[in-house]
Symmetry: C2
């Protein structure tokens, strides 16, 4: 396995400016990260400003996968990390850049697909997006001015990834483990469960639905479900509703 054909997938969620998309692609390629996916880019696609700012990384932009929603962008992905500038009110592990890289490296070595999400420039990832994440990654920033430019965040986390690959003392992980469920399988479970809960009017108060869905999804993500676990749970739901 070489680093270039199996690096984390960078997913830009609803990015606003084409210039930033291009700058992200350039920073990715500088550090050996080549797979880009973009969810619902504000200014449409293709975007000439993205190509211009990418300089020598134009092919990263040209080969980007575009998806209308985040779940669609993540269908074949096994592990999802969400970059965030602030602590969230969620029961979710918070990793430093090095800790994220160690985890991603280990997953990728086992054959899993890893995605690293970045939210829109102004607002960052929503709680809906975060609910899909196995962990939050926080780049340490100065409290004096914590507002990191999108491409700078991509650069720092890609740099950490590349640096880890350069490290000749890095541990080798060989034992195969059971792969977790893909995001598509997980999402199928979410929708199945939430649909059945709708049918039985589980939420009672409609305003509480969104919050309770977040909590449920977070809980299921934390469980690190395998493919088989997902099938088992869906079987249980079906049985319970029969």
């Amino acid at each position: 396995m070489t680093m270039s054909d199996s690096s984390p997938i960078v997913v830009l969620v609803s990015p606003q400016m084409g210039e930033n998309i291009g700058a992200c692609a350039r920073a990715m390629l500088n550090f050996g990260v080549t797979q880009l996916r973009i969810v619902n880019p504000r200014d449409g696609w293709p975007n000439p400003k993205a190509l211009e700012m990418a300089k020598g990384a134009k092919h990263v932009v040209e080969n980007a996968h575009i998806a209308p929603t985040l779940p669609e962008a993540l269908q074949d992905v096994h592990y999802v990390y969400g970059s965030s500038a602030r602590l969230r009110d969620m029961v979710k592990p918070v990793l430093s850049p090095e800790e994220y890289v160690e985890a991603a490296y280990s997953h990728i070595t086992q054959g899993a697909k890893v995605a690293l999400l970045f939210g829109p420039e102004k607002t960052g990832l929503t709680n809906d997006d975060m609910a899909l994440c196995d962990a939050v990654v926080m780049v340490p920033v100065s409290p004096v001015y914590p507002s990191l430019n999108l491409a700078q965040a991509v650069a720092v986390l890609s740099y950490e990834w590349f640096r880890r690959g350069q490290d000749s003392n890095s541990k080798n992980i060989d034992e195969p483990i059971a792969l977790p469920a893909t995001q598509a399988q997980l999402h199928g479970l979410f929708e199945h469960l939430e649909h059945e809960l709708d049918v039985v009017n589980f939420w009672r108060v409609e305003e509480k639905r969104a919050k309770m869905v977040h909590n449920l999804r977070n809980m299921l993500v934390r469980a690190n479900l395998t493919d088989q676990d997902v099938r088992t749970l869906r079987g249980i739901i079906k049985s319970l509703r029969r």
Copy 2:
């Protein structure tokens, strides 16, 4: 000592685009680096584009010291590091970002001033600039596309600096040591020596002067001269010429 009042000084040598100067200032402040010096900015000074791109770091741009030449920008500095994307044909230590940060942290803890130089966007630092540096700092980049944007290089090296300050396990270095000569003292020695060598026609062939000056300066920089060493050497030169 807090990190903010004694971080390395970022010196942009002949930067071309105001946008890049602003993006550098923003990335610096994100990672607690506040002192900016600019040598001979191509588009003059002040530069409205630099202010605009700096966003919340406008005061870093406004407080930047502007100097016509690199030696003037470095007068009060004790240790100089030059960032470079490529290996140079010079006998000079090459440091990784972490090694640079360890060295800078140790020097600053002792009360010394440290500068980190970045060359113009297209060409990087010249060999003349590099001759003033104690060591070269290389950010590891992918050979596929090694051309790192100026602000991205500043961001990665500022991030490494900030991360080191966050590390609660970091070693404390307490013993005071003799401070090295400042760049002004060192430059006085260079000019004194080179002038005397001009007078005695030491170079013989004029075309060889530049290369020999580089070698001499590199050698003297490597010697880690103290204030007292510089006075001693200048005394020797004076005596020899009498």
